[in-house]
Structures are given as C-alpha cells and as structure tokens.
Symmetry: C2
Subunit: 362 residues, 2 copies
C-alpha cells in the first residue's frame, strides 16, 4: 500500500480524491498495490465531506510523515506550491501536479530536486487536462523528430469561439455565457488573453526541443479582438477560427519558433473539428507524420484522471526518478521567428507572422 497526500481540496484536488476512490481497484492493479489518500491539505473546512477526517492545515504533518510517498499538488499558483513541492521532494516524496504555472516557472529546477532525491516530478495534467499527451510524447514518440505542434489548449476560448461561430453571438456575450455555464472564471483574463495557452505551449516547446522555453518568450495574442465578422468570413472560406499555441522546430538546426494566436484552420486539418470545451493537439514528425490527440482539456474528473495516471507511475517507480522530459535549468533556447508557412495549412487570423505580438509578463 502507498499513502499519498493531496495539496489543495479545490476542483482538481477534490477530483483526484474522487478518482482515487472510485477507481480504487483498477488503480491497485495498475500500480501493483493499493493507493490510499492519507492527508488532504487545505485551510478551509469541509464539514460533511467523506474526506473530512483526512484534512490537515499544516504542511509539516505531511512532510514529516515518512509513510507519505507521493504528493499531488493541485493548489495552483507559484506559492506556496513551489515551497511545498520542493520540501516534499527533498524528503524523497514524488510530486504529481496539474499546476502549469509552476511547471513553466520552475519545472527544470524542481526536476533537479527530484533527481537529487530519487523521486519524480510529473505533470501530465498541466497540459491538455485529461488528454494523455505528455507521457505519450515521452514514451511512444521519443524517437520521433517532431517538427511541429499546434494545439487548441484552452477550453474556455474554444467554447467562446465555437459559440460565436455557431450562434453569431459577439465576444462579450459569448464570454458572459461561458461564465454563466461555469466554463470561464470570473476574472477570465488568463484564458482570453491567451496566457494560459502560452504557458502550456511553453511546456510543450520545452519537451519537444529538449531545451528550456519560458512562457515569457511566447509572442501572444488572445481572442479579445476576434469579431463575429472574422468568424463569418472564415466560415465563408471553409475555415474555422481557433486559438492555437504553435511550436515549429527545424530538425536540421534545432531552432524553434513559438506563438499563441487566433488562427484560421482549414477543413482538412483535424483541429478544424475540435469544438466547444474540447482540446486538440496536432503533432507532426517525419516518421509518423500527423498525430492528433483530442479530449477534455479541463474539468474536475478528466484533469484528476491525468493526475491519477502520474500517481500510478510514481508508485511503480518508487525509489527512482521517472524521466519527465525537462532539461537543466540553464539549458535555455531563444526562439526564432517563424518560417514563412505555418504547419498544417494554418494561417494567422489577422495576418503577419506573429513576430509583432507582445510577449507576456508573468
């Protein structure tokens, strides 16, 4: 039996507790032994919750308990997530996370900590939510020379664009409806300005290039300037408007180009049909050609399922560091401007090559 702890009892943390409970038997078979939630860290009370007896408010209860072998960090944000993650790994506890902000900002440093303490730092849930993407790129595609990745990585934006396209709703109305339906936050800036997509793209670009690519290096345009006229004219040309994170890699030089922008996607590109809150990631490589991975990029249970898959891998590899694909902190790369043609017949909605887009400040 392996005892684990969950940091943060919000949507993803609550979902993780639930997946670990509902799928207990399958997880036992997959991991080779029972997985038990011993603690859940939160500063709030949850009276009546079936996990009420596991709730603790002091991280040291978890850190000081040698029985806890794996920690799920589902708090989000940089602090105290960074401090808690590092402290857990310094005590040899593996950490599985959905926290893309932390992976982007300190993933390479935390990976070094994991290696130094023979434990693992895994983050499948941080990109593409429930889509089993990162492990697949690592295990099944590691021998592939990937030349591009283009992804619909933010379900909120895709929901808004789908609604504008299908119903002729303007941006403000579609956003309001997304908020009413729980698909957008009260403060939706991180989604609609493209920052969330840019962060996930930076993680993907790091994995594909084998170098460190930071969020702040991604030229970024969000969807706030997309009009119903844009969607109509795209539709008339047989194209769909999608907010994409794109990374192109030159297999000869290893140079990469990155950007986040609203794009025109032609009908023969498999991203064309990725609608509503779904995410899709199109990968191209010389040997295997096109691959596309589709699924729910957010949501309680899908995201929690990805966290659970990481927990299984940590349990199976107890005492070892699972390779997560991140490089050393200092092995950085400076992206270059995009070549003339984007992959998969994609064009920028508002023209240009994206080089004029502002970079984002964290």
């Amino acid at each position: 039996m392996t005892n684990i702890a969950i940091l943060g009892f919000g949507t993803v943390g609550g979902g993780t507790a639930q997946v670990l409970d509902v799928q207990k038997e399958r997880l036992r078979l997959a991991a080779g032994g029972e997985i038990r939630v011993k603690y859940i860290l939160d500063i709030r009370d949850f009276p009546g919750s079936p996990w009420e007896d596991r709730l603790v408010r002091d991280i040291n209860v978890i850190l000081d308990d040698p029985d806890v072998k794996v920690v799920c960090e589902t708090m989000g944000g940089k602090e105290p997530a960074f401090t808690f993650t590092r402290a857990a790994m310094e005590r040899g506890k593996s950490v599985c996370t959905s926290n893309k902000e932390l992976v982007d900002a300190f993933g390479p440093e935390l990976t070094q900590t994991a290696k130094a303490h023979s434990c693992s730092y895994l983050f499948e849930a941080s990109v593409g939510g429930g889509i089993p993407l990162l492990r697949t790129l690592r295990d099944s595609c590691r021998h592939e020379d990937i030349t591009s990745v283009a992804g619909i990585l933010n379900g909120t934006c895709n929901y808004i664009l789908t609604k504008m396209d299908r119903e002729g709703t303007d941006f403000a109305d579609a956003l309001r409806q997304a908020q009413e339906n729980g698909f957008a936050e009260r403060n939706p800036d991180a989604d609609i300005l493209g920052h969330d997509t840019a962060r996930k793209l930076a993680i993907l670009a790091s994995l594909i290039s084998g170098r460190r690519v930071r969020f702040e290096q991604v030229p970024c345009q969000g969807i706030t300037e997309v009009s119903t006229a844009d969607l109509k004219s795209a539709r008339a040309r047989g194209k769909a408007v999608k907010l994409l994170g794109i990374c192109q890699r030159n297999p000869q030089t290893g140079d990469i180009s990155v950007m986040t922008a609203p794009c025109l996607v032609p009908a023969d590109n498999p991203l064309y049909g990725v609608n509503d809150v779904f995410n899709g990631v199109l990968v191209h490589s010389g040997c295997v050609d096109d691959l596309m991975f589709y699924g729910r990029g957010a949501g309680k249970m899908p995201t929690a399922s990805a966290v659970a898959a990481d927990v299984v891998e940590c349990v199976k590899n107890a005492g070892h560091t699972v390779e997560n694909g991140l490089t050393d902190p200092d092995d950085t790369i400076t992206p270059v401007p995009f070549p003339s043609a984007l992959p998969g017949g994609i064009e920028l909605l508002h023209g240009g090559d994206g080089s004029s887009f502002p970079r984002v400040r964290s």
Copy 2:
C-alpha cells in the same frame, strides 16, 4: 548496444530498418544504448540495398545468435510467423510485431511464452498503425473504466468512403482509384469486407475487457454495399459514413458487445472529420470522458515508427516481461448484443443493431 533482427523485408520491415537507421541517435537516447540491426530475414535477394549484408535466409542464424535480444516480426500472416515468434521468445528474445492476424489468433498464447521466458511480446503497430494507441491505453488509461471504443481502423475503406463522398464516385471506381494509388491491395477483400477492421477491433476489445475476444466473434459488415445514395443522404442529414469497429462495455457487468459496420457519424463526433487514409479511435470512459487518437493507420514509416517504439520498450525492459494487456488463453468472453444506443451518437448505416451480421471465418 542491443542487436536486433527483422523478420520480413517488405514494407513494414523495410520501414523498420529505415526508422532505426534515420532515428538512430534519438533511439539511443530513448533506449539507453545503441540499437543495431544485425540480421534481416527474407527469402528474396535485395541487391544494392544498404542492408544487403544483413540479409539471411535461415531463421536459425537469428535464433541461435545469443547477441540478438529483440526480433521485429513484420512478415504478416500466421505461418511461419507464429513458429518463428515462439521460437525466438523461447530463447528469451523479445518480439515486436505489426502482425494483427497473429496477435488476434495467438496473442494470449504468445504472451504466455513471453512470460515463461522473461521477455516481451508487444504489438503497438498491429492496431492503428502509427497511432500510439495501445501503450497509451495501457499506461495512461489503465485506471479508466472504459465503456466504449469506436474506431476508423482501416485506411483503405476510409479513403474509398471519403472519395465517394467528396467526388460522388461509386464504390467500384473509388476502389479502383485506391488500388491505382497504392492505398488498396490487388485483392482488397480483407479491407473492404471489414475483416481487417474486425481483427483490430478484436484486439482492442481484448485489451479493454481484459478477456479474450476473437476475430470470429465479431459480427461484421463491410463497405461493399455502401452506395453514393447512402453518402448523399447521410450528408443531407449532416452525417458522415464511416466503417467503424465498435466495442461497448457495460461497466457494471463487464459484458461487452462488438461489431464492425458502416455507420452514420454525427458532425459533433470527432470521428466525423477523420478522412482519407487516416485512422481515428474514440475512447469513452467515466472519468476522462471522450478521448480521440488520430493518425496514419498504415504506411511504411508510420507503422515502422510504432514497431520502433516497441523495440525501445523491450530494450529498456530487458530481462523482464512488459505487460501487454492480453489475458490468459482460456479467459474468454462471449460478446452480448449491443444495448439500444451506440456510443457517440453513432447509428448503423443500414439500420438494425448488427446482431444479424455474419461472423467472419478466418
């Protein structure tokens, strides 16, 4: 360094040699050591081939060489592939294959042989060609309670149906063009009668149910009766016609239903946009909801890339048996008729529930 042998220097075997050569450096990193093709078995001569010096005609050269640790069986068919595979594993050599016929007929028996000799029998390339599907289902989704899989698993049929739909070509003409373009065999029966799809579905159903499902248990209708009128009327209803392999699983009872048939796929199903020679597999489970995997289901380099991924896994797990998801030979299950509704809004093109379709004889 690990020495390997390739059995059969046809399309997939030749592609495997090529991928292992072109991607040598990445494969070395992925596997933790160089992978070298020591022998290629074929009865034909290939004068001028860069692999000419590795060609052997006698399987015993490979079987008797203790240096050969992994064998890629890319011959196809039951014999001599079965005898060669078993003999290799009895000598502790892992086998990676693209041979769906053999996996369907003797996969469980060969898995037992692998376990008895601490080597592995892997077959990623046998379903979905280059799509990294089986490893992903096994590693990332093993804790999921999968309730359905619906797949476009045969690129030839999808090419023909796409052509009939887009160009109004009738079945015979579309088939002829597929043959001229190298997308269909001279004897296309295994594809167009649905047998190839049924075989791949039987493998998927075995993995999902954890029981043995045989090809002969799959009710099967091919695409020979699909007319241009069918495609037009489907289009008018906003649907696409696709040859699908479908497996539905009742998570309460564990019962499964299987079938291969031309189906109507609604526009909001991600399989709707899977066209030409591409394959797509839609997976549904309670936690992660819908997942779809898209890519080239056939072709030299994509299929070979999947074989190469298996070689890497065998090399990394030398001396152990990698779990491949197949059960014991005697752990069979008898499929039950489908429940009233198919997954993902799919309907049978010609109505009914498929229970009247004939089973296929091997």
